[in-house]
Symmetry: C2
Subunit: 522 residues, 2 copies
């Protein structure tokens, strides 16, 4: 796509295409400014007449299921990412599609991981036209270098639910890898040898896809309880030897940081929250699964314990740390969107106060509210922040698209959004004049915590007021940027071509930014 | 409606209107013969922009909520019946509507009860045009006598879900009385002073209604867990002093029968199931909450205990008897659509194997299957049965419409449907040449058990074969009918006018029969 084809400047001041993969999309209009007036996607009405009376929907294998589901050129195929880097089914799907000679598919995963590198061959051989979903690691590099036929479309977890609900993305076949299922298609993620916790990312797919295939390696007699996915939405069930590698749901970052700088950032973040009056009996937070975030959670736990307080809920990606807090009685509930380790899986299975959630409940912006606005404080990462507090979470400073959005955009709606980030990474400053890609508008980002000081968004006069007489190292964001540049020098602009390779959707389905082809890849 | 206006003969041989309350409806075409080809109802897309960031949707009172929801003439107002005869909210809704001068409403309850008798004044004063839902007791009498302005439309629980899902009934405002809720609208039936078990009958309403109001007397801080109703579907929350009278969820029939005839029927039913090989390790059943049904459940329990077997699931309306079996380990799961006593409520709250279900999961005929076909045996009541095994569950032999359908039609799809019924009631034979109203087609009704013998549907050659060498008193249905008539005489035909007052929907939304005005009420 060339520079002047269908391009327009959106409310974030970014040049974005108004037509994406042949369909019109609305440019970003500002936070809360685009109000949809349509109706939700209306799936076909099914009839029990067309399903077996004995409830047995098992077919011989995934290939047969895909054929029965009517796999053909140009279809949209969805998968979920609860196995994270341990997904084994997605690659099989496209190997089968290739074998059947099917072309031009849209892969619509809730996220992709390095384990999906084999997909590249099917992007090259025409089986897949494009991926709409996060493009982590090798797939992101491939896209950044302009090698993907269609445009990538990145959506947040909530934005993905919104897109499906609103009919912006109509899924032809959803494939749901399930650690437990019955022949009717009821399924869950908590039981079975490949237990991965929950299946919330596949909820929209089950509700709205034309055909739904459940794949499992742990078939149980009806009823498969809990039924996180309802068999009443499912067309076919496939039994396989291994549905996923649960050990690989563990992200490499789910260990508490040992870096002194990052520990300092964690401590400053916790102190800021305390000074600002955010931590209180009954408060709620989301702290993510990165090393710094985990340390912040530990600080929060210490404060609660010391004062005899109890958090109302932790919003998670769970792992052993929030689970310990739940079991110690420091929090009433974990509201969990994905489990990041096997302790999270165990807790979700055993503890009725460890609640499985879905992007519908937590993040869908086109619902009658969602719970992201009710979280007192969220702690998130970013690859870059700019002096207007805009933040980037998908591209690096060299322009490469290497990360997905996850629930990041959705979490920005919390009562206080904090980005604890190092001032520089590999001697490249993280705070810049302008971010390479805007994923989150500055007005939603309240606080930047670095190892050399804390910058509060000037829009948050209330927070500035609350911490003004403390010993916290409050600075302006410009001061932080200058400090970094004094150490590392002014960072170079990324070297990009005039060609859009992907777009970033905002939570309401509008286009907030474009990702441009990197020159090094030409 | 006069006899020859829009009337047509359907596949059950019944004369039914093709136009009902100004809308076209499809006449019954036979079991599994009508296949829909449309799309589900598409609710409006909402936006978080229009809902409060703090998640607090509380409004001062029900009147204000109804005004905010835009209550106006001609709207469809839905309620659920989990409080059964202890519902206190429905009457308030229509008192408010009357006070506001709103006219011509359609009340769409999941069922009505004698406690709703005060609604009659609003049927008379024009506030309500008609009730689409069960018409128990006084409301049924009112309708039977031709006094309701619009036509009554009776649907099964599954048929109600189907009608909402398919857009046949578009709910303008759903009011969900909830024993527990948070300010966001998450709600459940298991906690709080008015705990009634679950809220499954309100699921379709929450998903598809234009506006949703949750009313509670037990407001808890977010999150209200379990969230049987998701606040993401809810517009307004109202706090009231008393949301329902949980003691009145107990049906008068939930005691084991002491009648020798009925005990004999129960024993014969259990013996039949055993002889036919239906009872086995891992079998499943639904036995209802009537006195005879409860006794059958006791027999089933005795057989399981004696042989060291375990049922896979009991499909319920639960009360203390299935709960005892669950706690004794005689069954893996209770799949429960409504709790019939406070022991049922307690068990659902405490026991993760006591599962709350909804008509979507269990009964919706326009899903990709439902679990009613997987139940090995169901035991149901009937007001009348005819020699073709057609059965009636809504009208009495005098033509009065006094009962709702409940899940009765949906349950007929089980592997074996048994109606244990007395040969006569009040000296009126129950088996007739032709039922007053067909609610269930004979081909789905397998066995009639009376105190004087068992009739097996000739279509079920397999069952006839299995019991042929037993000492069970197998007879033809004609023989049973003759016996009853020898004792009681041939029953008189009901004295009916040429005017349709209500229709009975089949599970697929087609019209299986009409209910005619009784002459005595002219």
């Amino acid at each position: 796509m060339k520079k002047f084809d269908h391009l327009t400047k959106n409310a974030a001041g970014r040049i974005v295409p108004a037509e994406i993969n042949g369909e019109k999309h609305i440019p970003y209009k500002g936070v809360g400014k685009y109000i949809p007036d349509g109706r939700k996607h209306a799936p076909r009405i099914a009839s029990c007449t067309n399903y077996p009376d004995d409830g047995n929907k098992i077919v011989a294998n995934l290939k047969e299921a895909l054929i029965k589901a009517g796999l053909k050129d140009g279809m949209t195929i969805s998968t979920h990412h609860h196995f994270r880097n341990g997904d084994v089914i997605s690659n099989q799907i496209f190997d089968i599609a290739y074998e059947l000679g099917v072309k031009n598919l849209r892969w619509f995963p809730s996220a992709s991981f390095p384990c999906h590198e084999p997909i590249i061959k099917h992007l090259k051989d025409g089986t897949i036209n494009r991926i709409e979903g996060s493009l982590n690691g090798p797939l992101g590099k491939f896209c950044s270098e302009g090698k993907m036929q269609g445009l990538g479309v990145l959506r947040s977890h909530g934005g993905r639910y919104q897109a499906v609900q609103d009919g912006e993305v109509q899924i032809d076949i959803a494939i749901i890898a399930a650690p437990s299922a019955d022949p009717f298609g009821n399924a869950n993620g908590v039981n079975g040898p490949a237990a991965c916790g929950l299946l919330g990312f596949a909820l929209a797919d089950s509700q709205y896809a034309d055909k739904v295939i459940v794949v499992t390696d742990n078939l149980v007699p009806f009823p498969c309880i809990p039924w996180q996915i309802h068999g009443n939405y499912v067309d076919h069930v496939v039994q396989v030897e291994k549905v996923g590698i649960p050990e690989k749901i563990i992200s490499g970052t789910t260990q508490i940081t040992k870096s002194p700088d990052r520990l300092l950032i964690a401590e400053l973040t916790a102190k800021f929250c305390d000074a600002a009056g955010i931590i209180r009996d009954g408060f709620s937070y989301q702290a993510g699964a990165g090393g710094t975030s985990l340390s912040i959670g530990i600080y929060f736990g210490d404060i609660l314990r010391e004062r005899g307080w109890k958090a109302r809920f932790i919003r998670a990606g769970s792992n052993k740390y929030p689970v310990q807090m739940l079991e110690e009685g420091l929090v009433d509930y974990i509201l969990d969107g994905q489990t990041f380790d096997l302790e999270g899986v165990r807790s979700m299975r055993e503890n009725p106060n460890h609640i499985n959630t879905s992007p519908f409940t937590s993040y869908n912006y086109h619902g009658k509210g969602n719970f992201s606005t009710m979280v007192d404080v969220v702690v998130l990462g970013a690859t870059e922040v700019d002096i207007n507090f805009n933040a980037n979470v998908v591209t690096h400073s060299d322009g490469y698209l290497l990360h997905g959005i996850g629930g990041w955009q959705n979490c920005l709606f919390s009562k206080c959004t904090i980005l604890p980030i190092p001032l520089f990474r590999d001697r490249i400053p993280v705070i810049k004049d302008e971010v390479t890609t805007i994923c989150g508008p500055g007005e939603l980002i309240d606080v930047i915590v670095t190892e050399r000081g804390i910058a509060i968004n000037p829009l948050r006069k209330d927070l500035l007021e609350k911490v003004k007489n403390t010993d916290l190292p409050i600075k302006t964001i410009e001061e932080l940027k200058d400090e970094a540049e004094q150490i590392c020098g002014k960072p170079a602009k990324p070297d990009l071509c005039d060609e859009v390779v992907a777009v970033i959707k905002w939570v309401d389905g509008t286009v907030i930014d474009a990702v441009w082809k990197v020159k090094s890849g030409q």
